[in-house]
Amino acid sequence: MFPADLKYMKSHEWARREGDIVDVGVSDYAQAEIQDVVYVELPEVGTIIEQHKAFGVIESVKAAFDLYAPVSGAVVEINEGLEDAPELVNEAPYDAGWMIRIRMSDSSELEGLMSASEYQAMIEAEENG
């Protein structure tokens, strides 16, 4: 449910690093909580985003939720497929449902994010709390 090769944020975004490129999406837990993703608003390619700042919005039938950047950097690509098929976030949150690709400016920022097991523990603590 939470791939071990990804890093996670408290706000339920995941980050997948390949060199200085980081792909970003939301976790399986987040998509299940939000349910029916009907709209994803993403920044334009070239936008400079900052770690922990909102870079976009994900909307369910009922509400809109901010998406937070796991690292700082420049947006080099966005998942344009989500415009026609936002439900990909529900169907494949770690694959076809990815959102943006960032060229990160400071790889040390990744160290502050959670591992899969830490993220899992956080969710279990929240659910039991």
Binding site: D36, V38, Y39, S60, V61, K62, A63
Partner: protein, 337 residues
């Protein structure tokens, strides 16, 4: 009532194509009894209760002196001296105070909300499904009529009403029988692929049918005329609270009107987003959501009357950016029955 049992879109489409079961026990029931019941009710509501017969239901606003809406409700006539008001959950206490403040000798007003369970069965398969559980001949129960009758052996009030735009029924039952009634209805609903429906789909269903939601689309700052509820005002029935103000507003003409709009891009308008036309802020959204049936994003907003014509282009400000929309005909969705 949860926001959703499975998924809002799935639940919504299930009601549109098949059948949904709702636990709406949060609604309030207020009983009015006594010889002076009708005269009190006529004073309180804008619609005309004098024309009602036993077993009839009437939708009506209840207004302030200035024509603002205290609540919108369903009025049930059991007998000439016995009525029930079905009111919004958030307004139960306010309504009771309002009614008591205008009450007179010869009327008893009682809050039955805590002892009443209200369940709704909505969708094109509701009649055939319900018929398997009751001996009441449902084909003779017309729209906005009700009757006492057993459902699965449980004594209920069966009402041909609803808040979805589909054919359907609502059941009032003593709280002690509520679970049994729900279980019996759930069984027949589930057997044909129907589902329990949460608050989320209840909201998108009523929005598509352009049924007002109190607190969003109507409140004490809006009048029935502005809300498109002119048909619920019986100007000629005699005096009632708010009549003078409504007559004046009707004579002068309303300045704003609740209209439906459709987004022209993929963005989703929500309640309280601002509406613009040519850089002028002209109104605010009262309800907005994706429409699962129409697969576009819709909403309601009060717009100046001169900007409320069909196809008028407007812009909705969402997170600081303007998005195109246009005024469209309502109801957005009409059942094909």
């Amino acid at each position: 009532m949860p926001v959703q049992y499975s998924s809002i879109i799935d639940e919504h489409l299930t009601v549109r194509s098949n059948l949904g079961l709702f636990d709406i026990s949060h609604m309030g029931e207020i009983e009015i009894r006594g010889a002076k019941s009708l005269s009190l009710i006529q004073k309180l509501i804008t619609n005309d209760a004098a024309k009602m017969v036993d077993g009839q239901v009437l939708y009506t606003p209840m207004c302030t002196e200035t024509g603002g809406i205290v609540d919108d409700l369903l009025l049930y006539r059991f007998a000439a001296d016995r009525y029930m008001l079905v009111v919004n959950a958030s307004n139960i206490e306010k309504d009771l105070e309002w009614i008591h403040a205008h009450s007179e000798a010869g009327v008893a007003v009682e809050n039955r909300s805590d002892e009443t369970v209200l369940v709704a069965l909505q969708g094109q398969n509701a009649p055939q499904c319900l018929q398997t559980l009751t001996e009441v001949n449902l084909t003779t129960l017309d729209y906005y009529r009700f009757t006492a009758g057993e459902v699965a052996g449980i004594p209920t009030i069966i009402s041909r009403t609803g808040y979805t735009g589909e054919i359907g029924f609502e059941f009032y039952v003593g709280a002690e029988c509520g679970v049994d009634l729900w279980n019996a209805l759930y069984e027949v609903t589930n057997a044909i692929g129907g589902k329990p429906i949460g608050l989320g789909a209840r909201d998108t269903l009523r929005l598509e049918a352009r049924l007002c939601l109190y607190g969003n689309d109507i409140d004490e700052t809006t009048t029935p005329l502005e809300a498109g509820l002119r048909w619920t005002i019986a100007f000629n029935k005699g005096s009632f609270i708010g009549r003078q103000a409504l007559v004046r507003q009707n004579d002068e003409g309303i300045k704003r009107r609740l209209v439906g709009f459709q987004m022209l891009d993929r963005s989703i308008a929500r309640a309280h987003h601002a509406v613009y036309r040519k850089d002028q802020r002209i109104g605010e959204i009262t309800s907005g959501a994706p429409s699962p049936s129409l697969k576009c994003n819709i909403g309601l907003a009060y717009l100046p009357i001169e900007m409320s014509k069909l196809n008028t282009k407007i812009e909705i400000e969402i997170r600081g950016k303007r998005h195109p929309a246009k005024v469209v005909k309502t109801p957005f969705y009409r059942a094909s029955i």
